[in-house]
Symmetry: D2
Amino acid sequence: MFELDKLKDECGVIGIYSPKDESMAQKLCFGLVALQHRGQESAGMAILKDNKMKYYKEMGLVQEIFTKEVLHRLEGGDIGIGHVRYSTTGESYVANAQPLVVNYKGGSIALAHNGNLVNANTLRDELEEQGSIFQTSIDSEVIANLIARNYSLGLKEAIVKSMERIRGAYALTIICGDNLIGVRDPNGIRPLVMGKLGDGYVLASETVALDVIGATFVRDIAPGEMVIINKDGVDSSFFSTGQKCAHCTFEYVYFARPDSDMDGSNIYMTRRNAGRILAKNHPVDADMVIAVPDSGIAAAIGYAEESGIPYGVGLIKNKYMGRTFIQPDQSMRELAVRLKLNVLKENIEGKRLILIDDSIVRGTTSGRIVKMLKDAGAAEVHLRVSSPPVKHSCYFGIDTPSRKQLVGAVKSIDEICEMVGADSLAYISIEGLIESIQIPGEKLCTACFSGDYPMAVPKSANKFVFEKC
Amino acid sequence: MFELDKLKDECGVIGIYSPKDESMAQKLCFGLVALQHRGQESAGMAILKDNKMKYYKEMGLVQEIFTKEVLHRLEGGDIGIGHVRYSTTGESYVANAQPLVVNYKGGSIALAHNGNLVNANTLRDELEEQGSIFQTSIDSEVIANLIARNYSLGLKEAIVKSMERIRGAYALTIICGDNLIGVRDPNGIRPLVMGKLGDGYVLASETVALDVIGATFVRDIAPGEMVIINKDGVDSSFFSTGQKCAHCTFEYVYFARPDSDMDGSNIYMTRRNAGRILAKNHPVDADMVIAVPDSGIAAAIGYAEESGIPYGVGLIKNKYMGRTFIQPDQSMRELAVRLKLNVLKENIEGKRLILIDDSIVRGTTSGRIVKMLKDAGAAEVHLRVSSPPVKHSCYFGIDTPSRKQLVGAVKSIDEICEMVGADSLAYISIEGLIESIQIPGEKLCTACFSGDYPMAVPKSANKFVFEKC
Amino acid sequence: MFELDKLKDECGVIGIYSPKDESMAQKLCFGLVALQHRGQESAGMAILKDNKMKYYKEMGLVQEIFTKEVLHRLEGGDIGIGHVRYSTTGESYVANAQPLVVNYKGGSIALAHNGNLVNANTLRDELEEQGSIFQTSIDSEVIANLIARNYSLGLKEAIVKSMERIRGAYALTIICGDNLIGVRDPNGIRPLVMGKLGDGYVLASETVALDVIGATFVRDIAPGEMVIINKDGVDSSFFSTGQKCAHCTFEYVYFARPDSDMDGSNIYMTRRNAGRILAKNHPVDADMVIAVPDSGIAAAIGYAEESGIPYGVGLIKNKYMGRTFIQPDQSMRELAVRLKLNVLKENIEGKRLILIDDSIVRGTTSGRIVKMLKDAGAAEVHLRVSSPPVKHSCYFGIDTPSRKQLVGAVKSIDEICEMVGADSLAYISIEGLIESIQIPGEKLCTACFSGDYPMAVPKSANKFVFEKC
Amino acid sequence: MFELDKLKDECGVIGIYSPKDESMAQKLCFGLVALQHRGQESAGMAILKDNKMKYYKEMGLVQEIFTKEVLHRLEGGDIGIGHVRYSTTGESYVANAQPLVVNYKGGSIALAHNGNLVNANTLRDELEEQGSIFQTSIDSEVIANLIARNYSLGLKEAIVKSMERIRGAYALTIICGDNLIGVRDPNGIRPLVMGKLGDGYVLASETVALDVIGATFVRDIAPGEMVIINKDGVDSSFFSTGQKCAHCTFEYVYFARPDSDMDGSNIYMTRRNAGRILAKNHPVDADMVIAVPDSGIAAAIGYAEESGIPYGVGLIKNKYMGRTFIQPDQSMRELAVRLKLNVLKENIEGKRLILIDDSIVRGTTSGRIVKMLKDAGAAEVHLRVSSPPVKHSCYFGIDTPSRKQLVGAVKSIDEICEMVGADSLAYISIEGLIESIQIPGEKLCTACFSGDYPMAVPKSANKFVFEKC
């Protein structure tokens, strides 16, 4: 166990419109560092400068990839987009890194995509039927093909027509001609915000990316909205209306950074709210509220505030755990969790603890943490989870294990409590979570908890038949 | 500004005595990961297996260096030592990485050293006078030479004689013959603890290294104590007695991990105590207590508990800021602090804040943080520092800037308050800090605050005349 | 001057059909090492194993790229193709490395291409008009698109239709379905040979690739021929007939390895013949015949044999000159030629030399070599060149400088002789070169010497508008 | 078989005295590239600039190590030395790379050493007895210790005293104080030459290093001579006289570059002489003389000239075989020789060949080459070797296999002939080799052929007890 038991996000995007900006690459780089939590596998950026497109993408963290030398080669620009990516193994290679940059009839186009299309295979089949070839397994290549095939309609109409074909979750930043384009799917599943930067504009998955480059938040891009940003300013239009709004709840639970604001709610505040609601609905007498760091901290503070039980630190996280670590020997495996989390024995000894975690996915880590706490002398450990049990797979850009691996899908809460060895276990309810987010429930996607998907979801897996070693 | 305004530690050491241990390299690796906060520049380990010494050391983080392949080459062992290092630029190259492994009359010897000798130059001069040559600029090479020159006295006496010559701060782990040796300087400046691991033993700079390899804490090595661990068990002896005990206070303030116990006190608890004492001595009316993460969190919680003002989160740290980052353009420089720390605007807007930092060194960061908070709408920012003003250089293993760069040495508290733009500023007193640590003041070194050094300190710099590019 | 003054080839290809071959990757690797002289910029291979395609391609030399670990990941296979590439700067990045592996309606297809299409831009325009997007600047992507668009016709017809559209030089190896396919352009400009390997088959640019994997030469693939190799054996068909045969003369002059046989002639023997013809047509009284190593050696031996003047060594080549070398300071620039070639003073002092070079392109090196020889004491230096003056650009896969840089295009032979400081200078005639190759002149392309191109050639440059940094 | 069956040299050295030379690092780099054939495992240089020593050394080829960036860090200098190294496995790590740079009483000293000391272990024991420690397994560390211990005698006397202690083969370049020092062992086993470069001087293992930096040859350093070069010019002195001169014969046979002059003889000319003598003493009727490239070429030309049988090319060497290559599968092993050498079938078919090799060590390659030639249709293969059978180990800087692996030591010539499958086999005699070199036999070391060592040689192996992984 080196990875804590969390779901993985799949991407973050950014786009900057700022003509003749000497620091374009550095601004994209700052923004991508701020979005790094959304994907640590690969990163890339494409920059249009004097109508010439340059790009660079690589496996690794933003700061490893964008060295002084690489930034120098990308120096200056008018429009730029960037991307950070997480992906499941097997499709994890640099050809799949984004932005995707292609040549088509209208010139060159660069795309960065956060999300997942549910009809990608169908569209790919159809495009192949018409003679298209595919070199990657990313949905962005499908989107680029659609735009290219609708080219003759003019840019705006070509994108609209393409968006009408794709179904699923997508927040896109695109460079096409002299335009920076931002698109958000009709359900508004994945987030996308717009900011102002001097005379220019910024699009990004989260507001934190605006903060680090000195941009001011303007507004969220609306579900089904497309913005075309160029020398004439921002042109907004809707290519789809009347669809159910379905913002991803898990962004609030775990993915987004606490200092981001998303569709009107601040992430930290919603998490603290969730802790308060948990305290109200699942109180327990105890001496201290502690969090599984870092993601449980806001809810733990909320729980402490509501319950009046003091907040304290019971677990210390090692800041230096990298993304990779040598597979431990059998004899060392049990200890490996301690590399990530250690117990603050002196502070929890003899105490009745309320342990707040933001979510339980497979349930593999919780048991080890409870055991560590008890071994260190905790009198009781009451586990409170600030999201409902994860029971269903996500098809909209989140890497979820198969249902049989989701402990919430295969065990009752009592069974999970016994499995993890806690003295009691409670999850926030779906209603409680919705309340914490302060967005009406009908505007949120809670499918991973409820199974209530905002659209039909596919059965089959990716059909790709080649693999880069 | 990418580095927060903190002092830098210089090293961490570990030693394991565990005959025929297949996981020796992995255990050392786990321990070094747990000690990684003590040095992120280079790391290394030396392992004795069947009387043959192997070693590997490299620039970088433990997990970057000790890949599967390297661990495989180091597989198995009887005795092992390891080291993580931080150093100032200019002497930062792999020849200076530790452990130092040398051949001498008695066979091979491996040394890992945390600390700094104040008479290294004098000893080096003297040894050179006797014909010694030096290939590195680390003190460990001086120590190895002394041991080699005293070889004929027998191992124990050779080490004792060598320790009698060196002055300064040192916690050493040594492999020599079939022995694992641990030595702590007569003042006990640098920490060193002993743990039990099955039938074997572990020595380490901090108890967290014991935790991650499943060892149980036995005791701290005492000032002036040498332990020789071999098949006959642990032989303890004192090569120096009657010296003033002078444990480094800054370990409690900032260096050590909060989950470590050091000379009888838990680090987290002492930091929380410091926060409480601050609250008692420097109260202020406010709405929320926030910390400069992560090092100010314990004191902030203590301050909140004592004052009754709620603890909250006001600053979010980016977990993905690596050790290196491209130098920002002039236009981006002001923004760079945001890559490390961002304000949680929604939680602090309109509030009167008490901001807890563990220390202020140059004072460069505090002003930016105060400004960020005020720009985000904080009504007031009262800065409270859980250590006294840093006014003097350390000669015992801490990398301190020159005195004129220490803001505490050149400005009054009022001037600093004005400089950083806080509404009020207060530091804990030296007495308060001592009280928080719960070790008698006469057993602590507070020289960086008080100038009261436990021994005479040198004037001159390192005389080394070659440099590896 | 670090590169000797030679034209650059652009690629080498290989293909192996050998079901259930555990050593498939290693065989491809051996073959590519044998073809390494045809391209040192990037290399790659694609392997079909149990109907699953894997591939790996990278910048660098074959042996740097295909490490033990990479070969392990590619282990086993039924059909494989490989490619080595040289390219001009600016388009030199890994996305342009080959084989190109794509997904299309019929599954996956892998292509390796040596040559250059003269109507690539036209076809790309046309394909883009139909909605295709392009991710690289290599012609192979055009070919893959054509095949994909003709998919419904069935494999064989799809390839035939595609080949009917493309014009230029191409030797292709393709994996498509269960087939290894080899195609040679209707003019037979680029070479392609077939060999037998146990029950399987090998296709390669040169026979040397057969030798190193233990295959026996069967025959050259004919101009306009396509071979489809599968479990039913070899199916040969012609998609184009009646075109002028135009084998590239420069393969014989410089590109191909001397131990290769190409379209019926052995390279070494044709070069030796050229030397003999030079001796007959351009005799001069002298003491020794020396070569510019290594490419001039065969002709020098031929010249010596014919003239009766002894062959000797006058220039020594440094075997350790890599592909890259630091740009020398101004003061060192004149010396840099010596890093590649040094004079064997003792053997040439006081002698009248005949210096044989295989070709002169820009003329930059010849002068330096003549000067080195004279400075070392050569009494006379008579330069004889075993190819005619290079006067015209190649559009069929050879990287030629612009015409104004071709010294043969802008200066008379007398002027060149004076420029290089030789005592006399003579080139073989086009007729002489043709005679040396022992293939009728009407079956050879001598366009770079004569300007007599076998087909219309384009005027415009590549229109690509994006660039990978 | 990837390495041809040759002995390995162990090092090459260079030294440049050229005050305020902006191109110092580049000059050293050029010189080391010219000496690269003497060692391809590691390379390094040390430069004194304004009395400050900088150095850089690394595993790999000169051009891989000394990148633009590294050369920039080493920019400018007054005195520089450099080294290329080959070593046996197990001691092959960067700590053993040279130059060795150490600090001693007199400041810093940098040493580069080609050769091998026969009393290194004795001296190391003795120095350890006096308290020295050793961090590498290279003899240079012994030498540096000796100089340091004799420091008080003054530089010149310290070196003389040190040289009086060491026995074996050594060509040293040293930077010490403001001096560039060159030393050659009393027997003159390893080569060392001096050249003039503007107002400065160059020392190098071979004259080719002078050529590439534009220095003019002055003279060989004499056996037992030490030159101290500084602002006062060149001070020459002899620290040992009357020892038997014993220049290494194998330098002439194989190690040195053909374009080098060594102790009065040009390498190429001596090799050609050897071929002529072979022809005289071991004639055979044949159609063509061919060489094992590249080392057999000079002797083959000599043989051809003397015998009147034409010289031709029968084997082609792949220029792109790097130092490492993936271990071939069993099925590919036999083919691996073809990666290095291929037969030029068309030129040898049906012919009676005389095959010239410069030496046979283990005999592993010769058989494969003979078989390749016969398989390709050679009517007869008569093997002629331009050095006598290698029968004895070298203790003076050459890496020889153990005696039982030396085919010349364990088999008769007839047995070897049968083993390799040649139609006849003959070696040049020791007398013949001496005659070819044109230096009196009593001034040459022929120990590897004759067992007649110029001094007593050690029995025991290196006692080093630690190993870098």
